[in-house]
């Protein structure tokens, strides 16, 4: 007999969203969490990093205030102050989330769970059985073979978020989202940063033009980076670390931050024993997020694909609706918006130019790159960058890629355009607010539709 309609293992973004939606649909729900509801995103991921990045923005703004006629001086960073600001934001959202879980009448079970039968999870000796089980155990900071993260001189993002000081210098291993975000924040705080990336470009998952623009601005800002340079080794020194990279070059720094990706938390908790099919530790699912074991679903970072909190939300909601019999539409992964919050921000949805050409054929794809130099609000912010559209000839917009201060907020509009398969002319016929940055999206669509306004054709 089942105790619950749904038993969810892991209370991060994917797990708790599933719990809330399932309970709304009248299902009985147990949510098992060993640490804190909210998971990586709330406690060690999205929220604290974005607080850090906002403090960095405040610091930059003070440093550059003279350009705007404002007389202010940046005297320094009080890292304790930054941390209590950051923790304050997390605490408030944590309280709110706990309130939602409580109001939803979800049975919240604290403890480490283990899958002991296809649809039974054992927590501290107690067996919790569901008609359905949702695996949502999330991810951890990976490292590379032979590189030992000691949490002191060689650290991961969770340690970086708890630092009680601004490091004088740091090497960041990995030029992906997490790496460039810390690089950007620390640089703003005064750290001398060097990013080491094995791939040929920063934010390599993004459209190549975005990488170029980020690199250009990082160079101007004084953030150093070595791309195409795999890490070789690290030696502890009195002052910190010496990092050796391909070619033999060495870099001295106070710290090494390892940001080489996140691995799935799926070992030693019964998944293999119960026959859940996995690949390199990730739980395999079909497009309806079913594993190979009947009644067992998986959501969030343990499912191969983009590791994003809102993908977890969407998957959690999807599974709850699936179990609730609503027959939801499968999620289009390319339609999930992506923002990297370094300065300049990078935001994208849909296909890169390269992928679109692969998929449709190069002659079927047209692109337009609207430079923010022509965008009044971006000039007011003194930021540089662009809005790039990837469109199918006589067809919809299939990719939007943006770089510049604050462009992350433009992704809301861009994602509607992509997901609703709008044609450039659908957007071009609407007038955008002047002066805004989203006006640049409007101008780009005007141009792609063949009727540029504040742009040369």
């Amino acid at each position: 007999m089942s105790d619950y309609d749904v038993v969810i293992l892991g209370g991060g973004s994917g797990g708790y969203a599933c719990a809330l939606r399932a309970s709304q649909l009248g299902l009985s729900v147990a949510l098992i969490e060993k640490d804190k509801v909210g998971g990586t995103c709330l406690h060690r991921g999205c929220i604290p990093t974005k607080a850090l990045l906002h403090a960095a923005e405040v610091a930059d703004s003070a440093r550059e205030s003279e350009q705007f006629g404002v007389i202010a001086e940046l005297a320094g960073i009080d890292m304790n102050g930054v941390n209590s600001y950051k923790d304050g934001v997390v605490d408030k959202l944590y309280k709110g989330l706990q309130g939602l879980i409580k109001a939803a009448k979800v049975d919240y079970i604290e403890g480490t769970g283990k899958l002991v039968a296809p649809t039974t999870v054992e927590v501290d000796g107690r067996r919790v059985t569901g008609k359905n089980v949702v695996l949502a155990t999330g991810s951890y900071s990976k490292t590379i073979p032979g590189l030992d993260v000691d949490g002191v001189k060689v650290i991961a993002s969770e340690h970086a978020l708890r630092l009680d000081r601004v490091p004088k210098s740091a090497v960041i291993l990995g030029g992906g989202v997490i790496g460039v975000e810390f690089a950007s924040a620390w640089h703003s705080f005064g750290t001398e940063v060097t990013i080491v990336e094995a791939l040929p470009r920063l934010v390599a998952a993004e459209d190549a033009d975005c990488s170029k623009q980020v690199e250009r601005t990082f160079r101007k800002r004084g953030i150093k980076f070595k791309t195409g340079k795999p890490f070789e080794s690290v030696k502890h020194t009195d002052a910190g670390v010496t990092v050796t990279i391909a070619g033999g070059e060495t870099i001295e720094a106070e710290l090494l931050l390892v940001a080489v990706g996140r691995g799935p938390v799926t070992q030693g908790i019964g998944y293999e024993e119960q026959g859940v099919a996995m690949d390199r530790g990730f739980v395999l699912t079909d497009e309806r997020l079913r594993t190979n074991v009947a009644g067992v679903f998986a959501v969030g970072d343990i499912v191969p694909g983009m590791q994003l909190a809102h993908r977890g939300f969407a998957q959690g909601i999807f599974v709850a609706e699936e179990i609730g019999g609503l027959n939801p539409k499968p999620i289009d992964e390319a339609g999930i918006p992506r923002v990297t919050y370094c300065e300049p921000e990078v935001a994208s949805v849909g296909l890169t130019e390269e992928k679109a050409k692969e998929q449709y054929g190069a002659d079927k794809i047209k692109t337009y790159n609207y430079n923010l130099g022509g965008n009044g609000k971006s000039q007011i912010l003194k930021t540089q960058g662009f809005v790039k559209l990837v469109g199918v000839v006589d067809g919809p917009v299939v990719g939007v890629h943006m770089v510049g201060s604050r462009v992350g907020e433009l992704i809301g509009e861009a994602q509607l355009i992509y997901n609703w398969e709008a044609f450039p002319s659908d957007v071009a016929q609407l007038v955008h607010m002047h002066p805004t940055q989203n006006e640049a999206l409007g101008e780009a669509h005007l141009a792609l539709a063949g009727k540029p306004l504040h742009a040369h054709a």
Binding site: W420, E421, A422, F423
Partner: protein
Amino acid sequence: APVAPVAPVASGGPALAKPPVRKLAKDLGVDLHALVGTGPNGSITREDVTGAVAPV
């Protein structure tokens, strides 16, 4: 055998067409409810709408 057309309207919900297509239909004076959708799940596509105005 003739197949019963899929109703283009979800009960109480919007016509089964993406919002820009709905707008296009309105601009072109096409009544979505009079169309039989040829898209996934009987949804109304842009071609269904433009096809309804283009002289056959």
